[in-house]
């Protein structure tokens, strides 16, 4: 009861002259075939080698391109940008009114007007001081730090092709903290942002070297660094730098060193003044705005280094330049706020869900969203447990930890 096997089953021959056979081969014997060949759903003349170049009009010309076809989601981006700018302005005003001393938005406007020399001071000096000397600088610093961190996160995610990249997770913030703390202990406060930048740069270099070394050495440029190894390397670097920060404070501080340590490790905006606004805001303007113009370059990294190079990007130089810029920005931000985590992770991913991954939209919207986010989270940090104040990094970690977990679940392909 055995049946003939497939290998000995006679094969039905397709007639050589069959229309379909010829059309599908598409290489008419030595010359152009009469049969049309489907080219991705469009019927064009069959062409084979030797099918005369210039024999008849190329089929391409018969298909006019459709100019003006909208590519992407430009309009939506503009609407979001306007909406977020308005929301940021409103958030700043409202956040300033929130706190132990009750204030109205009108009071805030009055104070701003008085200090800008537009109107007469109408507030009592005490209330004016609360608005102008305490809350306004703090809220503005929060906005600048949030914007800067979100921007850094978005840029680092593109350059390392790692959805988990963020100044905090890759150790930059911890490195910056070490630099800042050492300078404070030595009493040369003017160098604070510089030292923080150097700390961030050292930490970045350490993380990338460690990750590249761990993934076999050929990844010096960072393009083939695997996300997991990079994050693990960042964890190692952050641990060491965090410990150094704690040691330096513990060894030198005379007063409330535990609180001081917490503020640097977890990040806090307590005690920020107009100098903080100048440092953080200045850094966001001076470094952030040039970063916005690199959107095209960051887009080109979407498919890796080779593809970026094929698109005309100077891969090594661009990556070094842009990563140094993020270290510089992180340094300035950490100098005023300590290492606030996860802002650079949460916001760019949230914004991507709305406008996609093109950096022309992603970078500015991430910055705006980061500013709004940190304004509100910091307002929570200083009011939720009034009169005690939480380091704001506790709240960002509380929100960011689950987001990190979600990203891990969603990106199952991460190695």
């Amino acid at each position: 009861m055995t049946r003939p096997t497939p290998s000995v089953t006679p094969v039905t021959r397709v007639p050589k002259t069959g229309r379909r056979a010829d059309a599908e081969l598409g290489t008419g014997a030595g010359g152009p075939s009469e049969q049309p060949v489907p080219v991705f759903g469009t019927w064009v003349d069959a062409v084979g080698p030797g099918a005369g170049r210039g024999a008849g009009a190329p089929a391409q010309t018969a298909r006019p391109a459709r100019p003006g076809r909208p590519v992407g989601r430009g309009v939506r981006t503009g609407a979001w940008a306007v909406g977020l700018i308005v929301l940021l302005g409103a958030s700043v005003i409202v956040a300033v009114t929130i706190g132990p001393a009750a204030l109205a938005p009108a009071d805030v406007f009055a104070s701003i007007a008085a200090h800008l020399g537009i109107g007469e001071p109408t507030l009592s000096p005490l209330r004016d001081g609360i608005v102008w000397e305490l809350r306004m600088p703090r809220v503005l610093t929060a906005a600048a730090v949030g914007a800067g961190l979100a921007l850094c996160g978005a840029v680092m995610q593109a350059l390392t092709r790692n959805p988990l990249a963020d100044p905090y997770l890759l150790g930059l913030s911890s490195g910056a903290s070490v630099g800042a703390v050492i300078v404070i202990v030595l009493g040369v406060g003017l160098l604070l942002p510089v030292a923080a930048f150097l700390g961030a740069l050292v930490a970045l270099a350490a993380t990338l070297t460690l990750a590249a070394g761990a993934s076999g050495g050929r990844a010096g440029a960072g393009g083939s660094l695997t996300p997991t190894r990079t994050v693990l390397a960042g964890l190692a670097v952050a641990s060491v730098f965090g410990a150094v920060t704690s040691l330096v404070i513990f060894w030198s501080a005379t007063g409330d060193s535990y609180r001081e340590i917490l503020n640097w490790l977890l990040g806090s905006l307590a005690g920020t003044d107009w100098t903080s606004v100048a440092i953080a805001g200045g850094a966001v303007l001076v470094i952030g705005i040039p970063l916005l113009t690199s959107a095209k370059t960051l887009d080109a990294f979407a498919f890796g280094d080779t593809a970026a190079a094929a698109l005309g990007v100077h891969v090594g130089r661009s990556r070094a330049l842009l990563l140094t810029a993020t270290a510089l920005l992180t340094g300035a931000l950490v100098a005023v706020s300590g290492s606030i985590g996860f802002v650079g992770l949460i916001l760019p991913h949230g914004v991507r869900l709305i406008v996609g991954s093109r950096h022309r939209a992603l970078l500015p919207l991430s910055a705006l969203a980061g500013a709004i986010f940190l304004v509100w989270v910091d307002t929570g940090a200083r009011t939720l447990f009034d009169p005690r104040e939480l380091p704001v990094g506790i709240l960002t970690a509380l929100i960011g930890g689950p987001v990190f977990a979600l990203l891990l679940l969603r990106n199952r392909g991460l190695r």
């Binding site: 290489t27 469009t42 099918a51 210039g54 080779t306 593809a307 190079a309 996609g356 991954s357």
Partner: protein, 288 residues
């Protein structure tokens, strides 16, 4: 796409490239005439991808030069080179969270200024690339949701959006079913008819013979044969380069060389023996 200045096509002159201590490309010469489809053949590790990368300027040769028309490619600025040459890699990377149209628009990168967004012309070229690759219906789909074959087409469309005069393809038919392979290569031929010069690394010798005007066979970083597929693809060469016994016959319908493999050199292909199938179950019984 046609124009004066690159009438000679692509010429690679005594190019040498080492990575670490390993010589990957060894004094290599080859040419692809302008407006021709060139197939780059050779076993794995012969240096096909490296050669494409050298021509595209992604890696720098230690010696020698690649010229396209009268231009020395190494002396071009990166941006200018990216406007003249496009490379479509075989894609294995994960999705970057872009739509198909956005991925194709990446091909405009070397044409964009630092501050300006895409112009009407850029949009039109992207739309044209999408259309040429048959991707109009997929334009708003997420790149990550595409099949391997669709991704290959997107890569091709992205390369076309660069408006290159020289198109380099690294195994463009990988991951494609037979029909999609033929369609891909048919499109490439069509593009060459419009004046584009193409060099494609391929594995399938019969496909290369069917679609290429010119084949270049690499082995261990050197060109061992080049020219018309009829003349180059001989059984002796296939045995020497791939270690495979093959007959080269004429395709009954197209007249192109058709390579039929007989086995690895020294180990002929086993002749299939009839294998008895299990007896059918007696009627009325079930497997349960």
């Amino acid at each position: 796409m046609t124009g004066a200045g690159h009438a000679d096509g692509l010429r690679v002159d005594r190019v040498r490239f080492t990575r670490g201590n390993r010589l990957i490309i060894d004094d290599l010469d080859c040419t692809v005439p302008a407006g021709a489809v060139g197939a780059l053949l050779g076993p794995n590790g012969a240096g096909k991808s490296t050669l494409l990368h050298l021509i595209a300027g992604i890696e720098r040769a230690d010696a020698g030069a690649a010229r396209f028309g009268d231009r020395d490619l190494a002396s071009l600025r990166r941006r200018d080179r990216a406007r003249a040459i496009a490379l479509a890699e075989q894609e294995v990377t994960d999705a970057p969270g872009l739509t198909v149209a956005e991925v194709v628009a990446l091909g405009r990168t070397p044409h964009l200024g630092a501050f300006s967004g895409p112009s009407e012309r850029d949009r039109a070229i992207v739309a044209r690339g999408l259309e040429d690759a048959g991707l109009l219906d997929l334009a708003d789909r997420d790149y990550g949701s595409l099949s391997g074959g669709e991704r290959q087409r997107v890569n091709l469309a992205r390369a076309l959006a660069q408006e290159p005069q020289l198109l380099l393809l690294d195994e463009p038919t990988n991951h494609l079913d037979i029909r999609a392979q033929l369609t891909m290569l048919g499109l490439v031929r069509e593009l060459a008819r419009g004046g584009l010069t193409v060099l494609a690394a391929l594995h399938d010798l019969s496909l290369a013979a069917a679609y290429a005007d010119h084949v270049v066979v690499l082995a261990e970083g050197r060109v061992v044969a080049a020219g018309d597929p009829h003349a180059v693809l001989e059984p002796e060469l296939i045995r020497d380069v791939w270690g495979v016994e093959a007959s080269v016959i004429e395709h009954p319908a197209t007249g192109r060389p058709l390579i039929a493999y007989a086995g690895i050199a020294g180990a002929p292909l086993p002749v299939p023996q009839p294998v008895p199938l299990p007896a059918p179950l007696p009627t009325g019984e079930s497997l349960a």
